[in-house]
């Protein structure tokens, strides 16, 4: 990669980041309403404290929301340069802390789900491609496509009903046993895994079909290529042809997709998180939007955007490793 190229990529990165920052800042503030003027409840029976005019002024001033918009933006940018994401209006603590509390839970379930769905998807896709047009291929295809039609929250609810209500082998809600004190790290890990199991499986199942279809279809395309025929002509075993020659080439799009998915899933896990009351960043973002918690919305969106950008960078690198022809 030349010096010039690197500069171009870097400047593109910076411009993208600036655009994201501006959008993150102005879009939430363009939504109707503000953090302090709630009048009605969202659900029946819910209590909402309706602030008096004095309270509203006091808190607007406290959070600097009474300044003109452009000044707020300048304050935001200069704080950001110092690594300060601001203070969450709802949670009364630094946005960074809120994110650090909730993001790891989402990363945990998203990463595990991505690993599981990628491995399972590639495996099933390979089996399917090798048995193309046979019964097992057809069955898998139909089954998995039908499966993909189930929205993730419904899938989560079904799993919740089966495993938590009917068989009672998994907990109903949360990421840890409430008020638990652990004897060892192992105990703690076990408790976390126990609670994370169903959310991970739900997310993994929801993504599985995508990976499966992609692997199967690319493999089928690749398997008609000349070099596969050459490999077979060389007398290589069928197994080696499929794994070393076909699969390796078919993996490129799968890697790209996985990279994108990780970024997307951080926001997309929200439905699963709310089904299992899992304390991830998705449900935090939802609360932030409902409450018009501008600093928190900005913070979370920024983290998500940056992680998508980073994932893309990483994907590019992995791509180069897998396919040396891709240089720039």
């Amino acid at each position: 990669m030349s010096e010039k190229n690197r500069e171009v990529i870097l400047s593109r990165f910076v411009i993208t980041l600036l655009v994201i920052l501006a959008l993150n800042f102005f879009l939430p503030r363009m939504m109707p309403g503000d953090p302090f003027s709630t009048i009605s409840s969202d659900v029946q029976g819910e209590d909402v404290i309706i602030m008096t005019e004095e309270q509203r002024e006091y808190y607007s001033h406290y959070y600097g929301l009474d300044l003109p918009l452009h000044e707020q933006f300048v304050v935001y940018l200069s704080n950001l340069v110092h690594g300060d994401l601001g203070k969450s209006i709802q949670y009364k603590m630094p946005v960074t802390d809120v994110i650090l509390l909730h993001l790891p839970w989402t990363i945990l379930i998203v990463l595990c789900a991505t690993v599981i769905s990628t491995i399972a998807g590639v495996l099933l896709g390979t089996i399917s491609a090798r048995n193309r047009r046979k019964g097992s291929d057809r069955l898998m295809m139909t089954g998995l496509i039908a499966f993909a039609e189930i929205p993730s929250f419904l899938l989560g609810l079904i799993l919740l009903l089966i495993f938590c209500v009917f068989f009672r082998i998994f907990p109903l809600a949360g990421a840890v046993t409430p008020f638990a004190h652990y004897d060892s790290i192992l105990d703690q890990a076990r408790d976390i895994a126990y609670h994370a199991f169903l959310p991970i499986i739900t997310l993994a199942l929801a993504q599985l079909t995508g990976v499966y279809l992609l692997t199967r279809n690319t493999l089928i395309t690749v398997s008609t290529k000349d070099y596969i025929r050459t490999a077979r002509a060389k007398g290589l075993g069928e197994h080696i042809v499929w794994t070393r020659h076909a699969l390796r080439n078919a993996l490129l799009p799968v890697v790209t997709r996985t990279g994108f998915m990780i970024g997307m899933l951080i926001g997309g896990a929200v439905l699963v998180e709310s089904v299992f009351r899992y304390p991830g960043i998705g449900s935090t973002l939802r609360t932030a939007v409902v409450g018009r918690d501008y600093p928190l919305i900005q913070g979370i969106l920024l983290v998500v955007a940056v992680s998508i950008l980073l994932c893309n960078l990483v994907v590019d690198r992995v791509y180069q490793k897998l396919d040396p022809r891709v240089d720039e």
Partner: protein
């Protein structure tokens, strides 16, 4: 071929889900035990949790039951039981004849949970501290208290700017905070230390987890008042309260009528209806649509909307139809002697005819001077069904409605700005002190009271008689006389129909009798788990009335 497979499999899944749902209800009926003896006390009670903020007055969240968690730890000068206000940190009080001076005798030997004595200085401090640092709930608005004087350690005098009838009621949610801790706290909104939750109340906060939404409150041995009846109260996160209740994870829940049958014949579960203190209000924007300023038109709406149908179809019976006098039937000052507006489309048509609205072009919509009786009804996405039913009924009376669903914050913003024609919003607090008739419907109401959005001026309602009564109500210190004024206000409002309360909701509270059976309602609030006395032995000053 492929498509059919998908459909088949989807159907199979739906069947599976239905079967499983069936299993749930079967399982529950099996848990029916013997008739249990009602438990007057308990070691541990589990309640549905969720994160509502650190339980001190400045850090709870405005949405949800955060302030009731503050109540577990902090005390007020007065408290609320099922009938009205009762003495709490204040043993007794006297009011000067001009209604401007309240002298409170404070309870002796009260200690903060860290052992320091509670004195009149803490009361004075709280008032002064909260002038500079506004709490999320339980604050007293500016312009009410002129000053607070400490007479001695156990006597404190409030001098008010002017007499105000609701002063004692406000004090009942005004939590006293410790001077020796908060005086050095510059910014209480970031005060998340363990010292921040030291109160004089019956419980201490043993554990709080923001991330997981769990709280554990433990009874405080040194509490000055009635003994806590529950040793440990745990709020835990639940995904579905009903399932968690059936599985015994939580010991209290509120249910809707469609699942009532699961518990009806279960002698181990107590089922009690909540008072109807949460409701939906239907607003007319008389500023934007001056023709709605004609009371005949508004009365026609009241006759044409079938409020009983809303209760039956939307609530499946769990509600009470709205009163045009605003206060719900369960309110302590509800006046039953007011026009009832039974569903009567003939009456509605007659009123519109009389007001000059006639359907001349035969399109089913009435018009007058070229203006059609056609409006946009803004509401939250949860309330679309209410809007559709209302639309059908109003159509019969010749009024055309387009339902416009908005996200709740957008709807609130429109309501505040007056940017709507007709609008529905749902909120709680209908059981609170009747002074809200003044703050909600008098367009000359001074200041704004917490808990009510002062909107009359926004939607353009004005009635001199109501304003005069409201002004009298605010300064009338004699409860009997004030009640009479409130009765008169309800009469005026029910004749004027400035807004239409559609219905008040009544969920059914359910709890296992053998775990803990002493849940009670405060006279002004629907949620039993939010009243302090629910957690205390009902004797002495907390005796049942």
């Amino acid at each position: 071929m492929k498509k059919r497979g998908i459909i088949l499999i989807s159907v199979a899944f739906v069947c599976l889900a239905v079967m499983l749902a069936g299993c749930v209800s079967e399982g529950s009926s099996k848990t029916t035990g013997n008739t249990a003896t009602p438990a007057r006390s308990a070691d541990v009670v589990h309640l549905a949790g969720g994160d509502y903020g650190y339980p001190q007055p400045f850090t709870i969240y405005p949405r949800g039951p955060g302030s009731s968690k503050v109540t577990m730890i902090f005390d007020s000068l007065l408290e609320r039981d099922e009938k009205g206000l009762i003495p709490w940190l204040a043993e007794s009080w006297t009011v000067s004849p001009d209604g401007k001076e309240y002298t409170f005798k404070l309870r002796k030997n009260v200690r903060w949970q860290d052992g320091s004595p509670f004195t009149a200085k803490d009361v004075k401090f709280t008032v002064e501290y909260e002038k500079g640092h506004v709490p999320i709930s339980g604050g007293i608005e500016d312009g009410i208290i002129d000053r607070v004087e400490v007479i001695d350690d156990n006597t404190v005098k409030f001098v008010l700017v002017r007499p105000i009838s609701t002063f004692l009621y406000k004090l009942a949610s005004f939590k006293i905070i410790p001077q020796h801790i908060y005086s050095s706290v510059y910014d209480p909104t970031t005060f998340l230390d363990s010292a921040a939750v030291i109160g004089t109340g019956p419980y201490t906060l043993a554990e709080y987890n923001k991330e997981h939404g769990s709280y554990r409150f433990v009874a405080y041995d040194g509490f000055w008042g009635p003994k806590p009846a529950i040793k440990t109260v745990e709020f835990i996160p639940v995904s579905d309260a009903l399932i968690a209740f059936e599985q015994g994870e939580i010991d209290f829940t509120s249910i809707t009528p469609d699942v009532l049958d699961r518990f009806k014949n279960n002698p181990a579960i107590r089922l009690v209806e909540q008072p109807a203190f949460w409701g939906y209000e239907f607003y007319f924007n008389m500023k934007k649509c001056p023709e709605l300023g004609d009371r005949n038109v508004r009365q026609a709406f009241a006759y044409a909307i079938d409020r009983n149908e809303l209760v039956e179809k939307i609530q499946r019976g769990a509600g009470k139809p709205g009163n045009m006098g605003i206060l719900p039937d369960d309110h302590i000052w509800y006046n039953s002697d007011q026009p009832q507006y039974k569903f009567d489309v003939v009456q509605a048509r007659a009123l519109l005819d009389r007001a000059g609205w006639k359907d001349n072009d035969g399109d089913g919509i009435r018009e007058k001077d070229g203006k059609k009786l056609s409006y946009t009804l803004s509401l939250g996405s949860e309330e679309v069904r209410i809007g559709e039913l209302i639309k059908e009924r109003l159509k019969d009376a010749g009024i055309d409605i387009q339902v416009k669903a908005l996200e709740s914050k957008s709807r609130d913003a429109n309501l505040k700005k007056g940017d709507f024609e007709l609008l529905i919003a749902g909120f709680g607090g209908w059981g609170q002190d009747a002074d809200y008739l003044r703050t909600r419907y008098s367009d000359t109401a001074s200041g704004s009271a917490s808990g009510v959005a002062p909107l009359a001026a926004v939607f353009g309602y004005h009635n001199d008689n109501l304003n005069a009564l409201a002004a009298k109500e605010l300064v009338e210190l004699d409860d009997a006389k004030r009640k009479q004024i409130v009765f008169d206000m309800q009469r005026i409002l029910s004749e004027d129909v400035p807004t239409i309360p559609l219905f008040y909701t009544t969920s059914i509270d359910a709890w296992p009798i053998s775990t803990y059976d002493e849940w009670m309602n405060m006279y002004d609030h629907h949620a039993r788990t939010q009243s302090k006395l629910s957690y205390l032995v009902r004797e002495g000053l907390a005796a049942k009335r």
